[in-house]
């Protein structure tokens, strides 16, 4: 007998005392919990995202579409980044104001090559206000999972309010499980030494999130 059959047989014998139950799954589990917590306007939801991102030590910037390229250019320059990883489908205009050398996201790049790049700029799939989380789904403007992992500096652009949801249940609805997904809440961190939080053990030590809105009157708070 294969171990597969052995284990499945054990499960069936172990459940011999449990009566037949053909309740459809949708009815078997009560889902009386909330879809989101509290009532907020769209602006308040975006504010909460900014607040919770900052609470987990991400650096948050806000700007309009028109100001985005200049802001990204300034962030890369302030960091002294000479090279920047670029997903294949990233809006070219976003990098219109930087001199940093572009390194394309290529399947054949070795981890050592990625390790020599200073920064990475990506978009995201969705952002969750209540938890301060951005989610990447490997789309063309986000690239392979490793490009947002190996470099030490990640700039992530979130379109507000379109890409922002309030809570985890709403985010899952928007995501496709068939894609590789990475949920990011602040930069890499550990609390393994006396529970003192330290940023940047293995992932990027700096996470900068740019909340970009289409409204021309949105204020810039760098």
């Amino acid at each position: 007998m294969s171990s597969r059959e052995r284990i499945l047989g054990r499960v069936q014998r172990a459940l011999a005392d449990v009566g037949q139950d053909d309740t459809p799954y949708e009815q078997a589990v009560p889902r009386e919990y909330l879809r989101e917590h509290g009532e907020r306007s769209v602006e308040q939801t975006v504010d909460l995202l900014a607040e919770n991102l900052a609470d987990y030590r991400a650096i948050v910037h806000r700007c309009t579409e028109g100001e985005l390229a200049a802001l990204i250019g300034r962030l890369l320059a302030e960091r002294g980044s000479k090279t920047v990883l670029v997903p294949t489908g990233l809006d070219e205009e976003w990098l219109g104001a930087t001199d940093a050398e572009r390194v394309p996201d290529r399947g054949e790049s070795t981890p050592h090559e990625l390790d020599r790049v200073d920064s990475v700029v990506t978009a995201c799939a969705v952002a969750i206000a209540e938890t301060g989380t951005i989610v990447l789904d490997g789309g063309p403007d986000q690239g392979r999972r490793r490009i947002t992992l190996v470099p030490d500096h990640h700039i992530c652009v979130v379109r507000v309010p379109d890409q922002v949801v309030s809570a985890v249940p709403q985010a899952l609805e928007r995501l496709d499980p068939a894609r590789p997904l990475t949920w990011i809440s602040g930069p890499s961190a550990t609390s393994d030494i006396e529970l003192d939080r330290v940023e940047g053990v293995h992932g990027p030590r700096s996470l900068e999130v740019v909340l970009v809105s289409g409204r021309p009157d949105a204020e810039v708070t760098p």
Binding site: V29, V168, P169, E194
Partner: protein, 500 residues
Amino acid sequence: MSGTFVGMPAFPKAAHDAVHNETLRGNLRHATHTIRAKRANAVAELSDWAELREAGKRIKDHTLRHLDRYLVQLEEAVTAAGGTVHWAADADEANRIVADLVKATGESEVVKVKSMATQEIGLNEALEAEGIRAYETDLAELIVQLGKDRPSHILVPAIHRNRGEIRDIFRKEMSEWGRPAPEGLTDTPTELAEAARLHLREKFLRAKVGISGANFMIAETGTLVVVESEGNGRMCLTLPETLISVVGIEKILPTWRDLEVFLQTLPRSSTAERMNPYTSMWTGTSDGGAEAGDGPRHFHLVLLDNGRTDTLADEVGRQALRCIRCSACLNVCPVYERAGGHAYGSVYPGPIGAILSPQLRGTASDIDASLPYASSLCGACYEVCPVAIDIPEVLVHLRERVVEGGPVTREGNKVVLQPAKGHAAERAAMRAARWAFTRPGVLRSGQRLASRTRRLHPRTLPGPGQAWSGSRDLPAVPAEPFRDWWQRTNGGNTEKGTSK
């Protein structure tokens, strides 16, 4: 479960030694109290915590009730997405599968994500015996591995070490395993974390094989989920060419949507955060299509039983399989706080370990027979459990099993467990009592004899009863048996001063 720490004394002895270690107690007290307070705040942010907890419990119970169906569904989904599924009935089989898979790649070293399942089966040691070196990449696991130590907490395995001890371990041991600690390393957490970053990065960048566990597996889609903080998980899950995940069969959730419950309750219960820094989700391999080359080209899922189906067979104890390994129960437990994780003699310490280990391993050894007693039954563990495991109920149930014996399932077979030897005196006393209580004449004579000789009774019991009376006062025998008094006074009505 082969993860028994060899030569481990029973809990009372191990705990006795641990509570006299002042450093250990200080480290543990600081850690558990800090995280306990933070967790309470994080949970208080969600007004629907009770409903989330109930939903989590019901999802897990439903899954366990139909586990065979969901395992088959998961296997189909993972296979359809390009992965390969293996089934392991016990630790030895799981270790052999993993070792063979690693050997087939031609590699002799692997990087590992912190995983309770691979600790439980002793994978690192098994690989070592096959000439394969396994590098732990979680900072705490690295500290434990370099210190030739054992983990003492589910979430923060090096919780028993302070910064000075960690610096000493890094200075002394890092060069044995790869890049040495930087010159002049101090004991600030930032410097220690940086030393670990440099030490491990060279391993990540050259690794061809990664090994992980998983927090959740989605039957509907074949998706695996790993929740972490440092990014070492992401490194191991995405950079190597081959990924092998060893996961307990109870970690299944039926649907994608179910994650909405656990991604809210797990981070808040474990690290007391709204969300942990990194969560990775992958479905099979991402060969072909637009995301060509995103992540490992080969993915193997090893489904592990190792005592879980035996636990499932126990009507009371099976609820332990709901556990999502958040470790909230450890941080509130007054016994864990003083005894530390090592005293439990298992990779699963604390209240959940006290019910999980004796079920996964059976209660044949001294340490496993003693674990159901490693509790004051205060109930704090049940209060904080995000899937509402009634740990005190299972503890009492397991105590009964240890004392009374009875039918249990071991390796899929029904066997009758003998009562534990240590309780022979108690059982003998109970048998004598039953004999006397069913013979009124004998009971009366015995009571009269006891009353008349009361001045001669010792203050402590002799022989096997000594341990019992060592910490208890023996009840004083009255001058006259109750039944004699009742007959003499007509229930108190004719006695002077007591009549109404």
